[in-house]
Amino acid sequence: MAKKIKGLTIQFVPYTEIERLHSGDRIRKLLNLVLGNRIIILQGKLWPEEETRLIEDTMAMVGHVKNFKGIELATLNPNSNNLGLFGKMRHGLAKALGAQEAITIIGPASIVREMKRDPRKIEILMKK
């Protein structure tokens, strides 16, 4: 009998898809994708208040949505210390526009065991 192969979807969400959304709608959109068992690569990052809102909404769902155990989350920012003058100006502008230069990865904890983050890389450890 053929063995069933499980798939994994990684979805890219460009900044333009969330830029005009209110915080609540941004969180809802991201959580809906995670609930569909997708790993999201988001261009940009959430504001600190949005990150806590994401955690609060996630916690509200754990125990209420079947098999949902939460999320793994990691953001990588370009290191402004390593940039030249023009790089810093560009970085400052990007920051003002919502830190589009950053990358945020969000995945369901039922699939992603751990995201190990350091300043230069994110390591995604998957569940067996």
Partner: protein, 197 residues
Amino acid sequence: MFKEKKELSLGFYGPPNAGKTSLANRICKDWTGEEIGKVSKIPHETRNVQFKEKVEIDYKGKKLTFKVVDTPGIATKIDYEDFMKFKMNKKDAQRRAKEATQGVVEAIRWLDDMDAVIVVLDTTKNPYSQVNITIIGNLVARKIPVLVVGNKIDLRKADLKKVESAFPEYEVVGISARFGKNMEEFYESLFRLAKKA
């Protein structure tokens, strides 16, 4: 100079099992003779915000009164099966997980009530975890002064330098809350933090 000030709300934030309650206990025990809460090896032992009012710290002639607020560990995931690894039965593990999720939400909601916050991190763990960044990012956004405490420096795997390089913009003090190591330096840092509040 330190003027007579109102009671400062001092929050203890951080990921689960970093030693927030151990540190809050040590401070409360040192200055009031009573502990604030129970500690355990099982994560999410603190599942409600617990506080002690009028904790008067009289250190080297300086006096400050705090409301010590110990909060549940902030996490992005909670799986009851993780608690079962500590020989907990399924029903108790599920109850603990439910209470822990509510505790995370409660901890976040208390952020606005803090005058100053001590972020307690485990020096044997990776300091770059997103939860740590999120907590500190929120404190900065709310203009709440922060002191980063690297706990468990008594352990062989402890790496305080890594915590310092992860948060170069903040004062970082290494301690062992369990054994009371380096508390002198901690109290010096605490008074500097209170000045900013």
